[in-house]
Amino acid sequence: MALESPSLTDRFKLGLEAPICLTWELTYACNLACVHCLSSSGRRDPRELSTSEAKALIDEMAELKIFYVNIGGGEPMIRSDFFEIIDHCVDRGVGVKFSTNGTRLDAEKAERLAKSDYVDVQISLDGADAVTNDAVRGEGSYDAAIQAMENLVAANFGQFKISVVMTRHNIPQLDAFEALADHYGAQLRLTRLRPSGRGADTWDELHPTAGQQRELYDWLITRTNVLTGDSFFHLSAFGDALDGLNLCGAGRVVCLIDPVGDVYACPFVIHDEFLAGNVRDPGAFTSVWRDSDLFRSLREPSSAGACASCGSYDACQGGCMAAKFFTGIPLDGPDPECVYGHGETAMAKVAVELRPGPSVDHSARVPVRLGVSS
């Protein structure tokens, strides 16, 4: 007997009762000033959610049966209530995966993290050596990240992740990243650079070349143990699909809650155009997720638009909404890094100065010097 069954992808496109992957940026404060920061972080926003507001939000996540939350920032460990927040998540049955630059992950914190079965850690690193990494993340940041890894190993934390944003300068280091991850028993995660946040200013020089995209795809397709956060599904047009969902989950499967409680479709579209509501509004997060105009419209079936005649549309789904938005390409147009070059053609039609600018910018006003980690 045949059961009627749309694919998982089709079902996810129509939305879910609660996100599967919720990203929660705890603070815009950061002690680094990475040139490509998707959240333009640096300065704390005075309207940040308080500790009790954060706990109430966690209680709501537990009621929604959100299985785990991805915590980041800015640098989340800068918040003085960081452990209070993650302990509350674990107490309420919400798993925690958090991302850090490692500067605050000293031996004592590593021991504390090692005690929990439900807290996963990801260390950000954008170069396999200090020269490459620090060019993007700042002087001393490579050493701080490595030290954090050493601390996790010494504390018997177990497996953690190393997360890399792929750029023109580190694609030649794929094997070196793999070796580094193997050395620490860590899982490697490679993610896509989007022209979001401060990334908008540096994307043209930093994003991989067309040839490098092919190189990355060829490397990834043979590495089933390397994670990608589903960020390279536009490369599936090259051939076999990469592991993962291969669709844009913004507003459908994922969303972002920012430090002041604003809810965006995803972490790469911190912009008024993709602002769905605020957790401080009546109905809190639940009604934003289920009833906001923005998310309802993202859950409508969409057309292939300009990509309708392309045989690869089923594989690439038109690519990344954030990448299109910030390069000025219409959302039903090709991804700026379309493997066939259609994105370059589309970008050429939009003057660079007409690309959308950020609505929100918490960048530090003076350059940050990392110095000795505290």
Binding site: C21, L38, T191, L227, P267
Partner: protein
């Protein structure tokens, strides 16, 4: 003759994949276009 047999076996395998996928599917949950 061999070709016909081979393609029949393949069809049977594909059908059971399809049937299994109708009820249970594993979801890749690495970030799903999140950062973390």
């Amino acid at each position: 003759m061999d070709q016909v047999t081979a393609s029949t076996e393949e069809t049977v395998e594909e059908n059971s994949d399809v049937v299994e996928d109708l009820l249970v599917e594993e979801v890749s949950i690495d970030g799903m276009c999140g950062v973390y």
